[in-house]
Amino acid sequence: MSPAFDPLRYRADFPLLSRRVHDKPLIYFDNANTAQKPRAVIAAVEEYYRDYNANVARAVHSLGEQATAAYEGTRDKLAAFLNAGGRDQIVFTSGTTQAINLVAYSFALPRLQPGDEILVTQMEHHANIVPWQLVAGRSGATVRAAPIDDDGVLSLDRFEALLSSRVKLAAVAHVSNVIGTANPVAAIAKLCRARGIPLLVDGSQACPHQRVDLQAIGCDFYAMTGHKLFGPTGTGALWARREHLQAMPPFFGGGEMIRTVSFDGTVFADPPHKFEAGTPNIAGFIGLGAAIDYVQGVGLDRIQAYETELLAYATAALDSVPGLRLFGRAPHKAAVLSFLIEGVHAHDLATLVDHEGVALRSGHHCAHPLMQRFGVPATARASLAFYNTRDEVDAFIIALDKVRRLLA
């Protein structure tokens, strides 16, 4: 039996978590927006700039070799972290958005014909809607959304019913950024593969909270971001099946993605470098490597078990607040709680709890269609991480009570 999970032990690794806001201890409940960074990540970025700042993949001097080894080391770490198959299947991007756009323009657009469909769900982030709309607009295809129920659960039957022969690609969130629903992506991948429909999974919100095993999921593309995984902003990756990466043309051209260049024709590098033109965010990816080491050290299974328990505690606490409506009650969900309190606008709520030290997000969370599904213009959202505690949830509930008394 593993020892009990002690969030306080890990909190000490995150310097920012000890700061105060409006003279109150910070309660950081905006982890789905971006996560805080452990000391190891900050130190790795600083060490690179201080001790071995150099460009990657082209310098033969010592600094360049050291930088390249650290930067490419993150690719190995990420490949292992995701059970990716091969390191060559990991394309570094600036984040999930760039990863999805790469698939939209390089994979989908050349294949789309008028009348074709791209199937998404009602719970998608704009990053998994708008790129498809853009390529649909260029090709005459349309984007359709599979419905979710009042608890925020995707109906597999209705999803399957929409997988007609017109669907040329499906794109689904692994975990919803607004309501936390964890979708059964392996089952979805099975449905898609049976019909020869490529599936992209948006893993932004899943990677920080649960073990991701790409071999078990069986999708075609998986997009992730580093900054929600306790790493630096401007880092992320696209994982794809080898045959897709071979077939896809490069999207950005430039240095670091070629083998030879002449005016008679250019020979591109092999994947993944074919898709990585220009000098990358070297410090960021070195930091991401440190973040992956850190998270592996804590253990994804332990993180998920602890967060599941914390989610149950927070859900019960929110349900005790009079007039509070919680959006999303999927049986399988991450610790993301979207809610509204009757008579209180989400922005007033966020401003007021900030004065109690609580950092929340308010608004539409880059998911207008989901807001429309629930018939609300905006929600407040508390999104938790493994460094959050029950004491913080208790303090948050007291803050909500103050807000309710003031405004409702």
């Binding site: 606008h345 989400a346 922005h347 539409h364 213009p377 807000v403």
Partner: protein
């Protein structure tokens, strides 16, 4: 909890004045901040001399926008469009942390917005909607940022 939500602001939020609609408005406009989820409808009766005789608003807004819209009705009573404009500028200056050149009455209670740049658009929405109504514009917004 904060000086922004002072008693007078909360009083206007809880019991907004001139909330509702007019029987025969001569001017009307809709203010919508889609990102925030604020929407506001302002109706006016403007007389032959171009002066605001009646003002009414309704909508679903945060406390800051609601309180501003409620105070605004009082502040612009009997004013012409030419007189509203400098008042609007004075209010914008106030919530940007500057000294307003005109007296703003109860609206001065919102001066604390100088410390909340992200919330200024909430208080500016009723002003923009009023200006749109006077200018014959059907809809306006104070959201110029991106989502």
């Amino acid at each position: 909890m904060t000086a922004l939500y002072r008693d007078i602001v909360l009083a206007h939020h809880r019991s907004p004045r001139r909330y509702g609609e007019l029987a025969q408005p001569s001017h009307a406009s809709e203010g919508v901040n889609a990102l925030c989820g604020d929407s506001l409808h302002i109706e006016l009766c403007v007389d032959a001399q171009g002066r605001i005789r009646e003002y009414a608003f309704r909508g679903e807004c945060c406390a800051i926008a609601t309180a501003t819209a409620s105070m605004l009705g009082e502040a612009v009573q009997g004013l012409s469009a030419a007189e509203v404009a400098p008042l609007q500028q004075a209010f914008a200056a106030l919530i940007a942390g500057q000294q307003p050149v005109l007296a703003l009455g109860e609206l001065a209670a919102l001066a604390e917005l100088a410390r909340y740049p992200a919330r200024r658009k909430c208080a500016l929405l009723p002003w923009a909607t009023l200006a749109a109504a006077l200018g014959g514009q059907a809809q306006t917004t104070t959201e110029k940022d991106t989502a």
